[in-house]
């Protein structure tokens, strides 16, 4: 039998110590959720990729633009339903503090190919009819740094694509979209390709295409489509690499190199630190209970139940700390998302991350109690009774 009241009383014997340990655990579990979410946010695009969408870009690198003429050729490939183009704009609002993602796009094709981007029909129509119109993500519009409103004309500077007179670009906010899926960023601005191309023609260097998105027919043989698209441009002028959307996203994640690994190291460090702190607390608390444990043992409580008593204490401690940590992570989610803003969009703690953190907290509870519990179980009554803290 486990004396539950004893567990509680022992934990509350030193309220300050228990509180501090619980708070350390809270912090650690929060950090685990935070760090893990940094990684899952990077990979979110991979898991939510549309299986019918492909991406084609230069096989040489991100800096190489593809000719506009490629679109027609890709459209003609068997199995291809529709294509659309994207070009990275690289602009900022007011100063580089207001840096966020913008893309030049084909309005109609993008709405058709990306159903996860939701705009009301009126706003969509208004965008399609306004030459220098744009749509912005709801999270971007709500960001206090930008505070974009419907109908507002905003100026964006693009160091990468300056206007011929080196003035800022004007865009009219015609719509605010909402993204239904984590693979479609809700902090981006999209504007018309025609406006982009016509403005840059003045400079004498019309823009090329960064990425062609391709939607295949439902029954299409995807590997064959990929091979055919690549094959079209094998002899140049720009060789093309074509991949499924998931693979494209995965490759993008690998460009972060060792960074995810370092985040993992940090998480391990956090775990080690918190493990040591909890073991420390449990050993201190065990020492104080020695004489009582001696009494309990001499009253006939078994070694096993004394072992359980200590484990129950550490388990309770870690579960309470863990629960608070999960709560902290959950309740600060929106705040952290805003803090990271456009520099790291899409911070969202996945259910799996919460589950992982909960399991970690429980494991900590079992493991940190192990050494003191073992010692208590092995202890002889006389020794325990003799001990003076």
């Amino acid at each position: 039998m486990l004396p539950f009241k004893l567990v509680r009383k022992n934990l509350l014997r030193r309220p300050l110590r228990t509180t501090l340990t619980v708070l350390s655990l809270t912090v650690a579990i929060f950090l685990i959720c935070f760090l893990r979410t940094l990684i899952t946010t990077l990979t979110a695009g991979v898991e939510h990729a549309d299986s019918r969408r492909l991406a084609a870009m230069s096989s040489t690198g991100l800096f190489v633009e593809l000719p506009l003429s490629y679109q027609q050729k890709i459209d003609a490939v068997e199995g291809v339903e529709r294509t659309t183009k994207f070009q990275w704009f690289g602009g900022y609002y007011r100063s580089m503090k207001g840096f966020f993602a913008q893309f030049a796009i084909d309005g109609e094709a993008m709405f058709a190919m990306y159903p996860e981007c939701e705009v009301s029909p009126e706003q969509q129509a208004s965008f399609l009819h306004t030459r220098n119109g744009c749509i912005v993500g709801d999270a971007l519009a709500a960001d206090s740094k930008f505070d974009f409103r419907l109908g507002q004309t905003i100026q964006i500077n693009s160091p990468l694509h300056p206007t011929p007179g080196n003035q800022a670009w004007d865009f009219v906010v015609c719509g605010i979209y909402h993204s239904k899926s984590p693979n479609f960023d809700n902090r981006t601005l999209f504007f018309h390709w025609e406006y982009f191309e016509e403005t840059l023609k003045g400079e004498g260097h019309p823009p090329g295409v960064g990425v062609y998105a391709i939607r295949v027919k439902p029954d299409a043989d995807i590997p064959a489509v990929i091979a055919n698209v690549k094959g079209l441009f094998e002899n140049g002028p720009q060789r093309v690499d074509c991949n499924t959307e998931a693979e494209f996203q995965r490759q993008f994640v690998t460009m972060f190199g060792n960074l995810p690994l370092f985040v993992g190291w940090i998480g391990t460090g956090v775990l080690i630190a918190i493990f040591l702190a909890c073991v420390n607390t449990m050993i201190m608390s065990m020492r104080e209970q020695l004489s009582e444990i001696g009494i309990l043992k001499s009253l006939g409580f078994t070694d096993r139940s004394m072992f359980g008593l200590l484990i129950a204490q550490s388990f309770t401690l870690c579960c309470v700390g863990g629960a608070l940590g999960l709560f902290l992570a959950w309740s600060t989610q929106a705040g952290v998302e805003n803090l990271l803003g456009t520099s790291f969009p899409g911070y969202r703690i996945l259910p799996g991350t919460f589950a992982l953190a909960a399991v970690i907290a429980m494991l900590l509870g079992l493991l940190t109690g192990l050494a003191p519990a073992w010692r208590v179980a092995k202890l002889r009554c006389v020794e325990a009774l003799r001990s003076v803290d």
Binding site: R14, L16, R17, L20, T21, L23, S24, V27, A28, F30, L31, S58, S59, T60, G61, L62, F63, V64, E65, G90, S95, M96, K97, N157, P159, L160, P162, N166, H205, G208, G236, P237, Q238, R239, Q251, T254, M255, F256, G257, N258, L259, F262, W265, I266, G269, V270, I272, A273, I274, L276, A277, N280, T281, I283, M284, R287, E288, S343, V388, D389
Partner: protein
Amino acid sequence: MLVPIAYNLRSLFVRKTSLLLTVFGIGATVAIVSGILALQQGFKTMFIAGGRDDIAVFLRPGANSEGDSQFSRDRGLQLIKNVPEIAVGEHGPEASMEAYLAVLLERSGGGLTNIPLRGVQPATFEIRGDEVKIVEGRNFKPGTDEVIIGKRLVDRIQGCRIGDSVRLNTTPFVVVGVFDHVGSFGGEIWGDLDRFCATMGRYGPNRVIARLKPGTVIGAADPTKAMFSETPIPPVPGSMADRLRDDPVIPAKVMSESQYLSAQTVFLTFALISLGAMLGVVMGLAAIFTATNTMLSALAARSREIGILLAMGYRPIPIFLSFLFEAVVLGLIGGLVGCLLALPFNGIRAGTMNFQTFTEMAFAFRVTPFVLIVAVTFSLVLGLLGGAWPAWRAARMRPTQAMRRV
């Protein structure tokens, strides 16, 4: 009268398990913070070390980096002719047009990365002098499909050894040499400007670099400040930067190379410093809690001793200081352990994408004296904060009560 230091030092080592656990707990926290700092120092030293003040970088107006900037070849040549401050060497002006591109290559451990490609003219080597050294093989021949590889890439990226070829679009470029540079060039691939532009469909170079005549004042505004300012920061009036900004023929943004390089990592520096600071504060709190716990338990076990000290006539303030000292020593040992844990990171090579240039940045962790000083200071603060409350409690004890407590 102060409590003898030996008393505290000896007391610390009475409970070895507790001491060890606390020290390693603090150590892990300190190690994480120093690790992140070492990462930041790694690319900071790399970027700063590469920059020179006598080299000017010319960009298109409005551009923040060479990736943003682009000139046509004619305009680049015109610009060089147009600037009398450029030093003149044996072969004419010491100026070079450079193209900044990138190629997707595979890492040795798998995964793709965008490696910077720099198309250069022979004048680049003249300007750089001994900075750029061929350490293996030979330099590429101008006008041919040959490249040389930065030393930091050789082991980390596939197909980057002498004899391999790097395929740019439809053209294979043969690797003929390996070069070394302390700065960011050590992680780049270099080849002929015109060959790169032709194969990659570029109409011209991204920037012009030039060595300036001694004594030239560029007078550019700090590019980092300018990037984050909503209103343009004007260059020094009458300076070279001021004149070129409004030049009727080729307006250009000019700055010294060191200014240029220091502005290229501001985002990553900010991200890492923020992450380090956030982890430092949050994990520091946990470490302070641990230190407080340890000190409180030490206090409980020694209340009788404190009672005796008080009865002997020690005043509360020396007792407060002595316990605080004990906590600070605890923090310091933790800090030293943290430094020892962080030291093996020194020199570990890593690469990540620099969001500002969208290219791979190859660098190594640098556990510099600065990192160690921050680490030790941080651990002292942890000890101080963790020990304050227990020390206060010790000082406030009444001798009779303290001695009675068991």
